[in-house]
């Protein structure tokens, strides 16, 4: 960060120190995990079935418990990574501790809602 930015953020040394250790670690860990899992997801959805994407050929894959749970797990990891990333960006704008707590609660609620919404969307494909 440039010295000019540093001086204006006198109590905030970097994105690292504001967000806390676990979010920092898990962001990177989930990121690497996503590279692998998302690649697999992409491969299996695009090249695992023949023909254009239709309800039927999605059922072919998701009816297997392995793939249903894989998709839900992938979604959970991605949601964490996305919302944690959003949190880091917002924290850079500078928040009071109370506002940070409120934001964290909102993000948790949003994350759970997205996970439920995504899983709900997968259910009809279980065949």
């Amino acid at each position: 960060m440039s010295p000019a930015a540093q001086s204006h953020l006198s109590t905030q040394h970097s994105a690292l120190s504001t967000q806390g250790m676990w979010p920092w670690v898990l962001q990177r860990f989930s990121g690497v995990l996503i590279l692998g899992l998302l690649g697999l997801h992409f491969w299996v959805t695009h090249f695992g079935t023949a023909g254009p994407v239709t309800f039927e050929n999605v059922v072919e894959r998701v009816r297997l418990p392995l793939w249903f749970h894989f998709d839900v797990a992938l979604l959970a990891v991605i949601i964490y990574h996305a919302l944690n990333g959003t949190r880091t960006i917002i924290l850079d704008f500078g928040l009071t501790p109370w506002k940070t707590r409120v934001m964290d609660c909102c993000l948790v609620v949003l994350g759970l809602a997205m996970l439920v919404f995504g899983s709900w969307g997968l259910l009809p494909f279980r065949g």
């Binding site: 930015a5 239709t54 990333g85």
Partner: protein, 130 residues
């Protein structure tokens, strides 16, 4: 608040440091990909309306116009992912002297992946591959 944003962007705009471009683009692609996630989950949720509505929506987005956006999506994902690896490597202190080499090296790898992705999509469009 505006002072902080201004100063963070200073490194990108005024000082023109390429590393800060990477920082900016990492966040930008991240936000855009998060928005894509909302759209993707919404499309998938059409399954709840039945096979008919789902198929209609699904087939309507497998057209050339939407494929162009798919290519943009691939570019976004590849950039965000490889830049992320670069960030992790830099934070571990690796390649301290070769940061720019990493940046361009990752760029080269990214370009290769994107080309593969684009070729795959173009093939699909041409109907050569299912």
């Amino acid at each position: 608040m505006n002072g902080i944003i201004q100063n963070l962007f200073q490194d990108v705009v005024k000082n023109k440091k390429i590393g800060m471009w990477a920082w900016l683009l990492q966040r930008l692609t991240g936000v855009l990909l998060a928005l894509y996630l909302f759209a993707h989950l919404t499309v998938i949720s059409y399954s709840q309306r039945g096979a008919g509505p789902f198929d209609r929506l699904s087939l309507s987005i497998q057209t050339p116009g939407w494929y162009a956006l798919d290519i943009a999506l691939i570019v976004g994902i590849v950039f965000h992912g490889l830049n992320g690896i670069r960030i992790i490597a830099v934070e571990f202190g690796a390649m301290a002297r070769a940061q720019k080499a990493w940046l361009f090296g990752m760029g080269a790898i990214g370009l290769v992946i994107v080309i593969f992705g684009v070729l795959g999509i173009v093939q699909k469009m041409m109907g050569h591959v299912s």
